[in-house]
Symmetry: C2
Amino acid sequence: MSDPIFERIAIVGAGLIGSSIARAATAYGAAGSVSLYDASDDVRARAEGLDLGNVTATLADAVQDADCVILCVPVGALAPVAKAAVAHMKPGAILTDVGSVKKQAAEALISADNGAVLIIPGHPIAGTEQSGPEAGFPTLFKGAWHILTPQDGKDAVYADAVQKLTDFWTALGAKVETMDPARHDRVLAITSHLPHLIAFNIVSTAFDMETVEEGEVVKFSAGGFRDFTRIAASDPVMWRDVFLNNKEAVLECLGRFSEDLAALQRAIRWGDGDFLMQEFTRARTIRKAVIDAGQDSGAVNFGRNQNGVKDGG
Amino acid sequence: MSDPIFERIAIVGAGLIGSSIARAATAYGAAGSVSLYDASDDVRARAEGLDLGNVTATLADAVQDADCVILCVPVGALAPVAKAAVAHMKPGAILTDVGSVKKQAAEALISADNGAVLIIPGHPIAGTEQSGPEAGFPTLFKGAWHILTPQDGKDAVYADAVQKLTDFWTALGAKVETMDPARHDRVLAITSHLPHLIAFNIVSTAFDMETVEEGEVVKFSAGGFRDFTRIAASDPVMWRDVFLNNKEAVLECLGRFSEDLAALQRAIRWGDGDFLMQEFTRARTIRKAVIDAGQDSGAVNFGRNQNGVKDGG
């Protein structure tokens, strides 16, 4: 196995993403050693039993010798955690994150800048609906995009650090791309944040109707609803922070979504089948683009694949 | 292999569901012989090359000797097709369907009643987003619910026919349940129709933003959007008919959905994190119920499973 990209990395926050990075960095030899810290005594205790690396009692112990510190905490917690980490990091070390929102995350990290560390915000487009250190696994990032949003106007040392961080995520199996934070947040608002909000909402709506239908909503959830419940099982704290920190982009998408939905609602009410046909047919164009882009493998039989989605109505 | 449930069955409409019934009925010995007819010359020609059974040149040829005729056409086409089928069916034969909406479907079938056939509407909660005779497969109905909505106040002969049809779908691997048509439509409106409408809509919304984001919506669709594109790839004609024929129940669900979404939108705009937490946490309750009910297998890593849904934001 070739030399590790980083001699020592530190992971702060041992949840699904943090514990997956720890497992992957070790499995693929991307890091010589891994230190982990989590603010929760319970999570730290559980992480210790999982052979994820050196679980430390304090944040300082985890980050002080690290060449790269990866903050895997909810976006809302980034600012104070970054400040605490930077205070103990060695000069020239890289500070990055995995926040799903990048404009606010970048500001949070940069607000902790002491001039001695190299701050490079990032976001792996990878995950499951599971949470906690037990949920992680080394192949989580295989084939997934990892978006870095490096700061502008930096020097060659910073550029080298961006390259090293790119090599690290590449070693974990990710496809790395750099992007402007604001653009990242606009793109993710429609590709991830709105879909999750819609899923949370439809499950919430069904929750109230479930009582009306006496258990049949759950019983017959294979009709399509089931997949929404999976999306909506995602970590509430993480998602609360996503929506609070990507407000503008999400509200913009939500506004368009609601307008379009009102048009479909009106078409249903007035029996405008032609409009429904036009919209439903149009949707196939995007689906084809997704498959052509290698972003999905196509057919799913939810009868066999419990994660498939019904198309029989 | 035990005796077939039906000596001869006829399938009208050789799409995903029709061709799957043909394959399953033969594979599991539920029918002694299978005849198929499709109004489309092209579909008939393709079906002939698939060894699905005896593909006939006319509807009459397919149904005249059948003990059970299964209409697998869009709900909007049921009335005329049922009328044409009944005209050639033998006395005492069963006429059923697979329509995703049952109140309108039942009315369409019953409007063709000549007093000589036994009409028992049905709906398999099974499918994929694929369409056409090539898309079918024999295990599509394994473990899936099949809902029958038998007519009230019928005699013992009718009851025997319902039992036979139940045995047929059970032989195909389905779990059969009987239900009142109106109730079926209310339950499916929230578990299947609304989820599909929402998926069609979000894909349509993204379609317009895709041009704005220059391909990045598709590129980064793994963030959650990808699964919506799969749901939205479903057959437009079938879905148009579902929404036109289950208008009241769908509009009722849609109204509740939009109210709830407006509340989330307001919470995001005003930064009400507590409300978001409460709603997102509540969604987990339903998810747990779905898993406890054995309706889903749990975790998905979309990095490996192309049908998983991202939870990393």
